[in-house]
């Protein structure tokens, strides 16, 4: 019996030691592994890499390209990517990731700085500055080449607007203009939701980015001060944004709190509320047509005739007059790649003009390359593409720090407390400021009265 016990204990210890200690395996330099997300109808990256695989292998004799499509939702994709990178043997040479992760992945020493390579790449001059900045980490080095972006603004239903006596060519100049239109719709067209601004934890990041930050970045404040490198809370802008949400929900200009807090609300907006004409104005993203085009999850051929687009105005119309936030993807090179030159060649090939255009079209991405933007083929097929591309000139990126997901979670909780009436906008702001101080550390936060 005792021997048995000893045996079990030995096995356990060995297993624990084995699983805890570092890595030993090595990947060879003759294979370049590229990992990317493939999710449902979102197969742009898969199509791109399948397309360029034979080209790459022909251009680099003796080097094989191994595709690792990861079929899962975003969180699961990053979980798997993070796990793969934890050991040298499985870390991909090139990976597809949200611009948002560049900073923390660089800090984790997962990524290779690309500055010297980029400066020698003639195409790099075609990329717009905002997108270039999105690949730059806090240390000033650039770790990725952006694969396009997305922008945000207002979608509105022209048919409902006609019934409400609002212009088909709607151009709100301030938050007040947006509220006025919503009130007019509420009065004249019963049975529709006048205005949807995402809020609350149910829809997750949509509440932070399409919702709260689209408001905040239209005020005099931002969430993060790049000069002082501090988070900004509390601020006048936060309180005003909370007040705006409070107005929408207390005047019943928006969805009911029940609807807004439903974890599937953003799916429902895209799949049901907009196509079924139940929602008049929607503060949302450039990608919505993805599910309306033929073959999409909820095909809606008439979408481009029914819906109009207009920029989200700044609070009082102050310059530049409109707001957009951006996310988007980039290609990064693994820090431990055995063949950095081949990995970099793959990035160059994947993001040259022809292949960028291919990916933008397949993945409903907004162009960040000047030469693609001016290419007539780019604007074909999607009537709103020009509008969303024009928003790139004003667009801003989220503060891409490792603590952001937690702060974002608190933003969502704060907006939720406002729309459910659990907290006044002032209380929600001060609560939020307290949470941010706790998460980021008191010395990393500044107020802006």
């Amino acid at each position: 019996m005792r021997r048995q016990l000893a045996l079990v204990m030995t096995a356990v210890t060995v297993a624990a030691a084995v699983s805890a200690c570092g890595d030993s395996g090595s990947s060879d330099s003759k294979t370049i592994k590229v990992a990317y997300q493939k999710f449902g109808n979102f197969i742009g990256a898969d199509e791109l890499f399948k397309k360029i695989k034979p080209v790459f292998e022909q251009q680099n004799p003796g080097v094989k390209l191994k595709l690792i499509p990861v079929e899962a939702d975003e969180n699961s994709y990053y979980t798997k990517l993070g796990l793969m990178r934890r050991s040298k043997a499985t870390a991909p040479d090139v990976a597809y990731e949200d611009t948002f992760f560049v900073n923390s992945d660089a800090q984790a020493k997962f990524l290779m700085p690309l500055d010297s390579k980029l400066s020698a790449w003639s195409d790099w001059g075609q990329f717009v500055d905002a997108a270039k900045a999105a690949g730059r980490a806090g240390d000033g080095k650039t770790y990725g080449v952006p694969m396009g972006t997305d922008t945000r603004g207002l979608w509105y239903n022209k048919k409902i607007f006609a019934k409400a006596g609002l212009p088909a060519d709607w151009q709100p100049k301030s938050w007040n203009d947006v509220l006025t239109a919503a009130r007019q719709i509420k009065a004249k067209v019963p049975g529709v939701i006048p205005l949807n601004v995402y809020a609350g934890k149910g829809v997750g990041e949509a509440a932070s980015m399409q919702g709260f930050e689209m408001l905040l970045y239209g005020t005099a404040n931002k969430l993060y001060n790049d000069q002082t490198k501090k988070w900004v809370a509390p601020s006048r802008g936060i309180t005003d944004s909370m007040n705006f949400l409070n107005t929408i929900f207390s005047e019943k200009l928006g969805p009911t709190p029940q609807q807004a807090l439903d974890p599937h609300w953003s799916d429902n907006v895209q799949g049901q509320e907009l196509p079924q004409g139940k929602l008049a104005i929607d503060l949302d993203g450039s990608w919505l047509p993805q599910s309306w085009i033929p073959g999409g999850a909820s095909a809606w051929p008439e979408w481009s005739k029914t819906l109009g687009t207009t920029p989200m105005p700044t609070q009082n119309g102050q310059a530049p007059g409109k707001v957009s936030l951006s996310g988007g993807w980039l290609l990064s090179v693994g820090a431990n790649t055995k063949n950095p030159d081949a990995a970099w060649k793959l990035v160059q090939l994947a993001m040259n003009k022809e292949n960028s255009l291919f990916f933008y079209t397949k993945a409903t991405q907004v162009s960040v390359r000047g030469d693609v933007t001016s290419d007539p083929a780019y604007l074909q097929g999607n009537p709103t593409q020009k509008f969303w591309t024009d928003m790139v000139s004003v667009t801003q990126y989220r503060p891409a720090y490792a603590v952001y997901p937690q702060i974002s979670n608190q933003l969502q909780a704060a907006t939720e407390s406002v729309i459910t009436g659990q907290a006044t906008p002032d209380k929600a702001t001060s609560d939020l400021a307290g949470q941010i101080k706790q998460l980021a550390g008191p010395d990393k936060v500044e107020g802006a009265p």
């Binding site: 297993a15 084995v18 449902g40 499509p69 079929e71 899962a72 979980t79 934890r86 993203g285």
Partner: protein
């Protein structure tokens, strides 16, 4: 129950197949039976109702998350999900689930036997210690397991993934098995021992047949658990061609969460079928086994 059972119940463990026709036809029995059928019908209905959306969405050409009777019912969703890749994924699921369910039985039965019959003092604390751990969601141990698989060079291997799935199900399986085994009286094996049969033979020929209902519970339990497992194959298998249906189902979702609900519903029905069929088959076999064991005992 083992220690408290009276001689009367001990004898009675072999149910004599004496049909009691007299009382079965008595009016009181009959009204009780009618009431039981009524309640069963209600329960079945209550369990069936939530499926409503699934069936409606699967035959709808414009399915949403709302429940609506489709204007133009169609089987298009089904024909669309019946792709080669999906069938392949289902076969992968079958390999993983059958493999780990069978392996679980093969490993759990011999382990449970000594625990049930003699090594109680020594085995029990270990078993219980392991049992607590099965309350952990698999997400809790993903990181070390991945590291372990990298170390042992087992990534992307279906047999190794099966082994891991088996390991996570084993504590529960051994525990269930041991407890079902405790219900089987030892006197029958003692007779076999006297005849010179080994413990292994006694287990195989006498104990397991007598606890067949329990064995099938363990089997179905392990099978169903593996069948629905997403994270383990997702993390441990790399090649998309090796992924099972629980991972393949994600193809019906979109980047921002939107799903093709019609296809999702059709695929879900397709996906659940094998387990329902398995259960029905097991029930059949079980029915025969009851008759069989009755014959052996009688």
């Amino acid at each position: 129950m083992t220690t408290t059972s009276s001689p009367a119940t001990r004898q009675a463990v072999r149910p004599p197949a004496r049909p009691s026709r007299i009382s079965a036809t008595s009016p009181r029995r009959r009204s009780a039976a009618v009431a039981a059928y009524l309640v069963l019908a209600l329960v079945a209905l209550a369990f069936l109702l939530p499926f409503g959306w699934l069936f409606l969405a699967s035959v709808s050409d414009k399915a949403t998350l709302g429940t609506a009777i489709p204007d133009h019912p169609t089987l298009r969703n089904f024909s669309e999900v019946l792709t080669g890749d999906n069938l392949h994924a289902l076969i992968n699921s079958l390999v993983l689930s059958l493999g780990s369910a069978l392996l679980t039985l093969v490993l759990a039965a011999p382990a449970a036997y000594p625990l049930s019959r003699y090594s109680r003092r020594f085995g029990r604390p270990i078993l219980l210690g392991l049992l607590f751990a099965t309350g952990l969601p698999i997400t809790a141990i993903l990181v070390p397991v991945y590291g372990l698989f990298v170390q042992l060079d087992l990534l992307d291997s279906i047999p190794a993934t099966t082994l891991f799935l088996t390991a996570t199900g084993l504590p529960m399986a051994i525990w269930l098995m041991k407890n079902f085994m405790d219900e089987v009286p030892i006197s029958l094996e003692e007779a076999a021992w006297v005849d010179g049969a080994s413990a292994f033979r006694a287990l195989l020929r006498i104990v397991l047949p007598l606890m067949l209902p329990g064995v099938t519970v363990v089997f179905t339990f392990t099978f169903a658990l593996t069948w629905g497992n997403f994270f383990v194959p997702f993390i441990l298998l790399v090649d998309p061609a090796k992924q099972p249906a629980s991972v393949a189902i994600y193809q019906y979702f979109g980047l921002h969460g939107t799903a093709s609900y019609g296809l999702l519903a059709a695929f879900s029905i397709l996906y659940s079928m094998p387990v329902v069929v398995l259960y029905t088959l097991v029930q059949r076999v079980l029915g025969n086994a009851f008759a069989l064991s009755g014959a052996v005992k009688g």
